[in-house]
Symmetry: C2
Subunit: 447 residues, 2 copies
């Protein structure tokens, strides 16, 4: 048991009108709400009613694989969460942003701004952008190599962390009589000069309530795991079986000591797509309704993107063609391997595979009663495969409401989940200590 | 008379606890509110009560000239306006963002997102970033040349406009039965290949309510005016005298025809810093209180930044040293010339000059009764120097409240300003027609 305490953490991963790729076609959703900010505000309030740690929005810097059938993202997450902050009070707000196509000064500043305006609830899901379509929107002819993307991410986060520290706590003086707005001795240039970035600083924003956003990461390749071990405070991951989840969990936790970090400093949150109903049979039937709405032509394009391989003309009732080794992949390495193993391990045809992937693009799907879902979460949590979960409702808002109203109370009764917020910041919800400031710690502040 | 109708437009330019550089030291403000999102939300609601067209936040991608005395900006404007959108209904939301240090795809998307979440109230003040400090935060050793910055701005806006058009109106189908999310024939790649940018598109956001944000611009150099004549729908400008205001207004309007635009397609909004009181003497005394709180060491640094010349060791009671011609300036050309002319025209010492600049960094300041302020606005409006005004309250919220409660009703009684909003979009408030879509216009949509 490596948990600091006995309670688990829950993030709600919100996507349009649901994670299932055909959610927008099902009568439990209203498709036009993908464009309605009030829809997302309502989701956030539902999640907050459930006392969840955070909500999270993914992002892709390109239109989806096939707009005829669906789009991945509509709103830019930092702006969307800024519009959600005023209608919520406690819940954490995690936005995805790419290190491959932004500038560190501007992005560090945007997150500082979100942290200010949410009173310390900002989180950043750091991604390196694994698709070719994104590269084409930023002047590249091809996707930059996987290793180079992670090297850039490393430098990017390094600069950003220094910028967030550039204003020490207490730098803002606001002494009207003396006319001292800030103490210049506590506002530092960073003079960063790396291979890719040169940034003078300081940041054009006084220190935000959390000092910096919660750093979240979701890549599971070797480079991704090392990056997480150095920087991440929470990790989203797709794991299909308990054994795989346990192995991933151990792997990640074991890397922390080498970077001077404790096991509790990083929370591992595997994803789950829950179909919830009164009986298991009803839950399975509900899931099948969604599977039945999948458009194979869309699913094949999605699958092609995940594998970096054109399968759009491939027959549906045959197994996948032979796939290369992960080392040959420059896109999303760990997602490639996960799909490959899923298909091989269960000897799925392509049609069966796209059915499996429809709910969460590789995330584990579970259909059951509220008790069964709670049992499953408890098993993973107590079994050393998770510090908490990334809950991915297949349809929204219903799938989230059901989770909050039916599964959360069970977890609470079992003492596995908070019944009230006890912290005010996102980092606090995850049981993590405040981030120290490198300048304030290096040179003790004087009066 | 070139106005389409008889009413003027008002933008509230909001800055911290006031435009006056010493505002935070005056008892009419609470300095700590510069960091409080509720402060900015309150300002927006006050402006909306006054039926103003829009609010606007400036931005600089560097910490201010001298943090000991003040900072320019705290919040990033797009995130801040996203947090203001949910607590307002009608008022336009204009954010500054730089074309010199962002990527067009990401910025076009952020503005599309703001336009979606505000239901058509987004505006973009397009700036080229005129200070060296900003260049240092984005990998440059010196500020990129003025002409190059404007050339980049031109390409940047060109890409952005194409991206905003990449989803035709009606592209979103949402036909659940047929499984058609969007009509791929109405979602266009842009395949932009310019000197600086290569962007494939389409934008990862369906068309927003306004199609694109209102395009605002605030540079008054020759390059700046040409840029405005091509792209801007509203122009902020600092003009000190009615004659200068008239000349600028004419100059800009005369440029429009060459670009196939009508005079009404671009609204000219000179800035005004109003000190409002029951009597003129009280208003002047109030202004003097603020002037008395100026820290000369800060004002000299600000002046140095505006002139691109180190004046920090210069004697206060002498006139400015001889200044070069605008053509030698690579920073903010028109601001340089404005300050130079202001100092020379009125034979000011440096101390007097910094007093004059304290309220609005070169914008016109007027101390008077509500009637006097209204008279002045009417004179500029009827005199062909303005389509409306950029009101820059010297202290906040009080200076805005006074303007809304005391000056606006006079303008309304005179039939010069709306008493109710008649449009729902920002572009509508400014009396501008919706933007056509290049693809929809080129190829008529088929069923
Ligand atoms: C829950 C979860 C959410 C993710 N969200 C995003 C996202 O929003 N944008 C993105 O580009 N990648 C996202 N990813 C992908 C990862 O960031 C990463 O690119 C992918 O897992 C492959 O990483 P690897 O190459 O290190 O294996 C997500 C992954 C997971 C598990
Ligand atoms: C009302 C007003 C607001 C402005 N706001 C900004 C701003 O937020 N950020 C910025 O970099 N420049 C801002 N500027 C400066 C202009 O964008 C421009 O850089 C400056 O006027 C010099 O332009 P020029 O070089 O074309 O003369 C503003 C100017 C005015 C008049």
């Amino acid at each position: 048991m490596t948990h600091d305490n006995n309670t688990l953490h829950i993030n709600a991963f919100l996507m349009g009108v649901g994670h299932h790729e055909a959610a927008w076609r099902h009568p439990r959703t209203e498709a036009h709400r993908v464009l309605d900010v009030a829809h997302y505000q309502e989701l956030a309030r539902i999640a907050e009613r459930g006392r969840l740690d955070s909500i999270f929005f993914a992002d892709n810097l390109a239109v989806g694989a096939y707009v005829k059938r669906n789009v991945h993202t509509v709103f830019e997450p930092i702006t969307l969460l800024s519009a959600i902050a005023p209608v919520t009070e406690k819940i954490g707000l995690i936005a995805t942003a790419s290190t491959s196509y932004h500038e560190p000064y501007a992005l560090a500043r945007a997150f500082a701004s979100l942290d200010h305006l949410s009173n310390g609830r900002a989180g950043w899901n750091i991604v390196t952008s694994g698709t070719e379509a994104e590269a084409f929107n930023f002047g590249y002819d091809a996707i930059p190599e996987h290793a180079r993307r992670y090297a850039r991410a490393e430098e990017f986060v390094d600069v950003a962390e220094q910028l967030w520290d550039s204003w020490e706590p207490g730098a803002l003086v606001l002494d009207a009589d003396e006319g001292v707005f800030a103490d210049p001795g506590k506002v530092h240039a960073v003079d960063y000069a790396g291979e890719r970035f040169r940034v003078r600083g300081p940041l054009n924003s006084p220190r935000s309530p959390q000092g910096r956003p919660l750093l979240v990461q979701a890549g599971s390749s070797e480079d991704g795991k090392e990056f997480a071990a150095r920087h991440a405070e929470a990790v989203f991951t797709a794991q299909q079986t308990l054994a795989e989840g346990q192995a991933f969990y151990r792997d990640l936790k074991d890397r922390l000591a080498r970077h001077g970090r404790a096991e509790g400093d990083l929370k591992v949150l595997p994803g789950l797509v829950p179909f919830i109903a009164d009986t298991e049979a009803e839950a399975v039937a509900l899931q099948q309704e969604f599977t039945g709405l999948i458009s194979p032509d869309y699913a094949l394009r999605q699958l092609s993107t995940m594998l970096g391989l054109d399968l759009t003309a491939y027959p549906l009732d045959r197994p996948l063609p032979p796939l290369p080794d992960e080392s040959a992949v420059e896109g999303q390495k760990s997602r490639f391997t996960l799909v490959k193993q899923l298909a091989a391990g269960r000897e799925l045809t392509v049609r069966q595979l796209i059915g499996e992937l429809g709910g969460g693009r590789g995330h584990r799907t579970l259909a059951g009663t509220p008790e069964q879902i709670a049992d499953d979460l408890e098993t993973w949590f107590r079994g050393g495969a998770a510090d908490g979960f990334n809950i991915m409702p297949p349809y929204l808002p219903g799938g989230l409401t059901d989770f909050v109203e039916r599964v959360v109370p069970i977890l609470q009764r079992r003492g596995l989940f908070r019944t009230e917020y006890t912290a005010t910041t996102l980092r606090g919800h995850y049981g993590l200590a405040p981030v120290p400031n490198r300048f304030a710690d290096a040179v003790p502040a004087t009066a």
